[in-house]
Symmetry: C2
Subunit: 246 residues, 2 copies
């Protein structure tokens, strides 16, 4: 399993992903699920992947091979030269369809799942910030002010805190706290989501990554938030009045 979350706020984009993959319960590995592209001054892009790892890796190979080919042949369309972020998302969608067409039938014949989903976010100079969620069929939806965050993978445990806190106007500091807590709740409750984490922050209209880092198991910030939240929840529980039944 996997948990990835993306926020599109007035203040910028935040993306966080875990790194645990599992084939069954007894084959657990660590794979990066967050990938970033950066054309200084022109555009920044970040993608987070969930689902069948062979599908998402195959998709990323196609995306990156196109970028490599475009260095010799500028007629090759890529996510980095596409005229809009929307068109970049379409290129992810075309790569998804391509990989699904290649592997889905045989995967399903073996009883395996071919589903995959990808969060794609970024900004192009002169364009708006965008956050898309791409599905297995190659179609995608976009985050809007009504729903400024999108999640893939094991989304349930981490959703309540985002529902309570995140609006488009949420400042970056609060948003990061909420994203840390959203991931912390998921890590606590689902063994198939695991540290380390990857975090990317793209401030609005700056066309650059302000943060792009791996959060390791022993990260002090993350541990402080996690411990502080556990204590705060415990305190909150204790101070709630008893219910009438008791």
């Amino acid at each position: 399993m996997t948990y990835c979350v993306g926020l599109k706020l007035d203040a910028g984009i935040v993306m966080m992903s875990d790194t645990r993959t599992n084939a069954g319960l007894d084959n657990i590995s660590r794979f990066r699920k967050m990938f970033t592209w950066d054309v200084p001054g022109d555009r920044v892009l970040v993608a987070c992947c969930a689902g069948n790892l062979s599908i998402t890796q195959g998709l990323l190979s196609r995306i990156n091979q196109a970028i490599a080919r475009s260095r010799d042949d500028d007629r090759v369309e890529t996510i980095l030269n596409a005229p809009t972020l929307f068109r970049s998302a379409q290129l992810f969608g075309e790569a998804m369809k391509d990989v699904q067409a290649r592997h889905r039938e045989t995967l399903q014949a073996q009883g395996a799942g071919a589903d995959a989903s990808i969060l794609i976010a970024g900004q192009r100079k002169g364009g708006e910030m965008r956050l898309y969620l791409l599905y297995s069929a190659g179609n995608f939806i976009e985050a809007t002010p009504d729903t400024p965050f999108l999640q893939i993978g094991e989304h349930k445990y981490g959703k309540p805190i985002l529902d309570r806190v995140i609006t488009p106007a949420t400042p970056m500091e609060r948003a990061l706290k909420a994203v840390y807590l959203s991931m912390d709740s998921t890590l606590r409750s689902n063994l198939s989501v695991g540290m380390p984490l990857d975090l990317a922050v793209i401030p609005a209209d700056e066309i650059r990554f302000a943060v792009q880092r791996r959060i390791e198991q022993d990260d002090e910030d993350f541990a402080a938030i996690s411990r502080g939240w556990a204590e705060a929840i415990r305190d909150a529980f204790e101070t709630l009045p008893a219910v009438g039944e008791a």
Copy 2:
């Protein structure tokens, strides 16, 4: 969908269930999912049902028909005259197998699900308190001191607070608060779980229901807990330190 939770504590048994059922997204109804039986001084039993409603209703009909028949013929074995709670759970299991055998194939041929699960709890005079989770196949597991609560239906949203609070030694007052919050979290996050709620409390070794009531939409206790928790979570969030990225 459904959310039902059962606790087996040193202090007694707590069961809570919602009442919302849905066939698809546009056919939502209210059905009681909690059923109680009470032979004064001899035994108390409570069952909460999730899954295909025709399956669980059919199962309960069989259980109750046996009880009715046993009034005329004391050789009929029922959940109320079985020598142990374990045997009562087996009788639920046999009824489950019977209903599944009757309907599963045709349900699946129509693309519908026949899965159902039932929490069964109670105590017999001279016996231990028991809490079982019965599956579609008629097999069941029992709550133990390591895992003193069992959930059926939409279990994810309501699990974290139980994980944090519930041990076998948890006093009834704290346990009720945790169960209220567990249900509150589920109601907030999943539209397919809805008020009113049913609550049953069986104090240890008293062979009686101390509480057996419906919690309606306008219940003041529930509203106070729900509101208090929302405020406490918001306060806890505000007082947590900012993360380093911000």
